[in-house]
């Protein structure tokens, strides 16, 4: 029993003597990493916030471009332009006589308002129609 106890003490002593620097290094590493953690977090948050700002900026840019396109669509669909195109490009003239025909067919579907002129409607998202489709579908 005495021999065994001595051996255990020796093993413990060896372990104590050899592991202290390791423990200190490990502790330093832990402290170092712990100290770095807020920095990493801060860096990540900064990066994410930067990304959000960049994306917000992009979103605003796209919205601005979309608004310009909406105005372009409205201007291109104006009656004055349609008449000008009809007269000048297609060579159309006003009718001199009026003939009435009865056509036994259902009338065309009601024209839709552009999406931005309507209140938010979640069902429209399910339909899969893009805003551009909505705008172009609304053209005369």
């Amino acid at each position: 029993m005495a021999t065994v106890r001595k051996q255990e003490r020796s093993a413990l002593g060896l372990a104590h003597a050899g592991s202290l620097p390791v423990l200190l290094i490990l502790a330093a590493l832990v402290v170092g990493f712990t100290a770095l953690l807020p920095l990493v977090q801060s860096s990540g948050a900064t990066s994410t916030a930067g990304d959000i700002q960049r994306l917000e900026g992009e979103r605003q840019d796209w919205q601005a471009r979309l608004h310009e396109l909406e105005v372009d669509v409205a201007t291109l669909g104006s009656l004055a332009r349609i008449e000008s195109e009809a007269r000048l490009r297609l060579g159309m003239t006003r009718p001199t006589e009026t003939h009435y025909l009865t056509i036994d067919a259902p009338p065309p579907a009601e024209r839709r308002l552009p999406s931005r002129y309507l209140p938010q409607d979640s069902r429209r998202e399910e339909s899969g129609d893009s805003l551009w489709d909505t705008l172009t579908g609304w053209l005369p």
């Binding site: 840019d61 608004h67 310009e68 409205a74």
Partner: protein
């Protein structure tokens, strides 16, 4: 004289005192900076690092009844320069030169704007479109930033300019619907405060406080852009053909009171406004509701309606026209000074005989006559919801007992001595077309905000005449048009009804303008089931003053196109074939 061991010399005390004093000074200064002047320095720090912007969402659009934008807003950008960033002459000159092509302004102009100003940030260029704004942003100039703004655009050009109105540079409505609906269209502004870097960009993790702006609501009008354009084209053509000074055309849906078109001339160019020119202010008013005039013979419809609805006369009632009729000491004569002998009420209306109208009014009596005038809405505003509306002027025995005489009723019966607005006259005819029910006219169909849509339903005012009387009047109006030469009025495929009018132009002094007339035509189409009530009023045409010649053709052309556009089925006899 030897120094005691361990005693402190005066030199040491001096050092301690100096250090203590220094510490006190530093502490005092710190206290001054941190405690007493804290607010000032904190404010200066905020000015340096914080930026505040007003956020404006887009102004709502004005849309026609089918959703086509008549007035909409487009994003634009203003270029702001920090005065301090351009305090160095060489740096400023270089930055201004780089900025000039993108901003569309000369470098000298921008430099002068910044150097002449003592404010923190100067607006050096406004109204840049997206491409130009991108070019400015790409320069990444220190102290230069873009602020989003908005510009009002009119995709249909000057269509309905007086009705729509316009906005000022601050996007506040100044006239027309833009002003009347400003609170609805404008939404509410928001603000954003944030920490920024030297370029004016936001620090990603800096302080930030944002109150989001609310967008304005879109307003769907009852105006139909196609019919509005037809009305304006016909108005322009008629004014040009007859060298008139101006005029108005109103198109109403009788059953609902919805205004499909409201055009007035002279007008203005909304894309080239000059608000400094006071002489142009008169062009901005919507004459269809603000101006009152003596309607002339079109008012005989009201007189006839009073006679028929009160049971005093019928279309076949005979009366004898000897060419004149006495009222007080005055003599009423026909427009052509002729006597027509025995005539029916229908003939009175078709031939537009003043003596006949005065005779009907006398048979009805002043009390009932003015009651019908009031029932048709004359003498009070229609309450269409547009600012500046006149109520017209109707003198009755009750309202003006001192000076009213029976000759007033006699002249009122054929539309002289009474003032109405074009809209009042049109709505009275719409009531005849709508089974005798007077409906309040309205111009707004719906208000579409991001969260809700508010619709406006027709609002009946009162039963002006019975449906039976209305039916009789419509038929009589049809007979009147049947008697007009096809060279002036011929609507193919539909039977239309109406009444012409030619009235003298009253002056402010109480008399009439010599050789000046107002030609007008009020009509309904089709007679059987009216979908449209139309008023055409032409001011002071030259050469020929008659409503039949001047105003009726415009009504015919407008109605011909509008009925086909509205897909109103023509009469059976007009159909040439059926396609299965």
């Amino acid at each position: 004289m030897g120094r005691k061991p361990g005693s402190v010399t005066w030199r040491l005390w001096a050092v301690v005192a100096a250090m203590g004093f220094g510490t006190l000074v530093i502490t005092g200064r710190l206290a001054q900076l941190q405690l007493f002047d804290h607010q000032q320095y904190a404010h200066e720090a905020r000015l340096t690092h914080m930026s505040e912007q007003t956020l404006l969402d887009r102004r709502g659009a004005l849309l026609d009844r089918n959703g086509y934008p008549l007035a909409a807003s487009q994003d634009t950008y203003d270029v702001m320069v920090e005065s301090r960033a351009w305090s160095n002459g060489a740096v400023a000159a270089e930055a201004a030169a780089a900025l000039s092509p993108a901003a569309g302004k000369s470098a000298e102009e921008m430099l002068a704007a910044v150097q002449d100003s003592d404010i923190f940030e100067v607006n050096v260029a406004t109204g840049l479109n997206y491409e130009r704004a991108e070019a400015v942003r790409a320069l990444r100039l220190s102290g230069v930033r873009l602020v989003t703004s908005s510009h009002r655009v009119y995709p249909e050009g000057n269509l309905a300019a007086q009705l729509l109105g316009f906005v000022g540079r601050d996007n506040t409505g100044l006239t027309g619907l833009e002003a009347d609906l400003n609170a609805i269209l404008d939404g509410s502004a928001g603000t954003i405060r944030f920490e920024r870097d030297g370029l004016g960009n936001q620090f990603p993790l800096g302080e930030r406080l944002e109150i989001a702006p609310q967008p304005g609501a879109n307003v769907v009008l009852t105006i139909d852009r196609y019919i509005q354009r037809l009305a304006e084209q016909e108005l322009d053509r008629t004014i040009k053909d007859h060298k008139a000074t101006g005029g108005s055309i109103i198109v109403v849906e009788p059953a609902t009171g919805e205004i499909l078109a409201m055009a007035s001339r002279p007008t203005f160019d909304v894309t080239r406004l000059d608000l400094s020119d006071a002489s142009k202010a008169a062009l901005y008013r919507n004459r269809a509701i603000t101006d009152q005039y003596e309607p002339g013979s079109v008012f005989k419809l009201v007189t006839t309606a009073a006679g028929i609805d009160s049971g005093t006369v019928s279309p076949d009632t005979w009366w004898y026209d000897n060419g004149s009729l006495s009222a007080d000491s005055w003599t009423i004569r026909n427009w052509d000074l002729k006597a027509y002998g025995s005539q029916t009420i229908q003939q009175m209306l078709s031939k537009s005989l003043n003596t006949g109208a005065a005779w009907v009014a006398q048979q009805v009596g002043p009390e009932r006559f003015y009651d019908y005038v009031s029932r048709f809405g004359f003498g009070s505003p229609t309450e269409i919801g547009l600012s500046g509306e006149s109520s017209g002027r109707v003198r009755t025995p009750e309202s003006d007992p001192a000076s009213w005489r029976s000759v007033d009723m006699a002249t009122n019966s054929f539309g002289q001595g009474i003032s109405v607005t074009p809209l009042q006259m049109c709505m009275a005819v719409a009531a005849i077309a709508n089974n005798g029910m007077l409906v309040k006219p309205h111009i707004i169909r719906a208000i579409v905000s991001p969260n809700a849509t508010t619709s406006f339903d027709p609002e009946p005012v009162r039963q002006a005449i019975s449906p039976q009387s209305s039916q009789t009047l419509r038929e009589m109006m049809g007979v009147v048009v049947d008697g007009i030469s096809a060279s002036y009025l011929d609507v193919q495929g539909y039977r239309v009804g109406g009444k012409t009018g030619t009235a003298s132009v009253a002056t402010d002094s109480g008399g009439y303008k010599p050789d000046a007339y107002i030609s007008s035509f009020v009509g309904i189409a089709p007679v059987e089931n009216p979908r449209l009530a139309v008023l055409v009023k032409i001011d002071e045409p030259k050469e020929v003053p008659w409503g039949t010649v001047v105003a009726a053709p415009a009504f015919g052309r407008l109605v011909q196109d509008a009925l086909a556009y509205l897909k109103v089925p023509p009469t059976e006899s007009a159909l040439v074939s059926t396609i299965q």
